[in-house]
Amino acid sequence: MLINEFLLLAAALFAIGVYGVLARRNGVMVLMSIELILNAVNINLVAFGALHQSVVGQVFALFVITVAAAEVGVGLAIVLLLYRNRASIDLDEVDAMRG
């Protein structure tokens, strides 16, 4: 297998995730797009670990999975708080800090 097959798959997944973060209005959907980005990074880590015959890639991928779980927990709590305070999770309306 070519290393590039996995790297290009990860690049496409990353670009789709970035589009989702920029274009979605729903807070939960933005968090889902962030998950796509983190998964793309994990594919890269494991693929490079396989290329260099090293377990470090897998170790870091496990760390990234852990941090992603923590991120979703806090992110959903923030979205929930947003919903409780404003009765909406439309991110276009959250512009109190707009300059």
């Binding site: 996995f6 798959l9 979605r24 939960v28 994990n42 377990v55 923590a70 991120e71 959903l76």
Partner: protein
């Protein structure tokens, strides 16, 4: 199975996985139904887990299934339920900046793709990329013991923080 047959099987498997992952990801960011987006996310996460297995990373692949599909997607479904997002179609799911989003996404994919093709060309992975779970755990609990403990405390702090944020006073 001969080596050549294995190579062909690997390529077919990769093609199927790549189609599921890319198609599912596109549906996640374009569908107007929030619950359906979460279910497409399951397909993407399963495809990524399968690609880990294809790369010989068994433990990461299984962890991907357990943690992402078992826990994180359920958390997302709870988030959708608690924020009372419309279960059916939502009229305006993409913001006004979606055109620039498409531009940034396509530009990013172009730059990344060009760089990867230019730099790695047709470099091959080793024939056997399988790594033992025992070696991974040895590495975590010796060389990377301190980062492992730090990540554990981070997870604890994040979950306590999430509870503090989300509870009703």
């Amino acid at each position: 199975m001969t080596l050549a047959a294995t190579m062909v099987a690997q390529h077919i498997a990769f093609g199927v996985i790549a189609a599921i992952v890319i198609g599912g990801a596109l549906m996640v960011v374009t569908t107007s139904n929030v619950v359906r987006a979460a279910l497409y996310l399951v397909a993407v996460l399963a495809g990524v887990g399968a690609s880990f297995l294809l790369l010989g990373a068994e433990f990461v692949g299984i962890t991907q299934i357990l943690v992402y599909i078992g826990a994180i997607v359920v958390l997302f479904l709870f988030g959708i339920m608690l924020t009372r997002a419309p279960i059916g179609r939502e009229l305006q799911m993409t913001s006004k900046s979606w055109v620039s989003g498409v531009f940034v996404g396509v530009a990013l994919a172009g730059v990344l793709g060009y760089t990867l093709v230019d730099f790695y060309g047709s470099e091959k992975l080793p024939a056997n990329t399988r790594q033992l779970t025992a070696d991974v755990s040895d590495s975590i609990f010796s060389t990377y013991l301190v980062p492992f403990e730090v990540v554990s405390v981070l997870l604890l702090a994040a979950l306590v923080g999430a509870i503090v944020l989300a509870r009703k006073d």
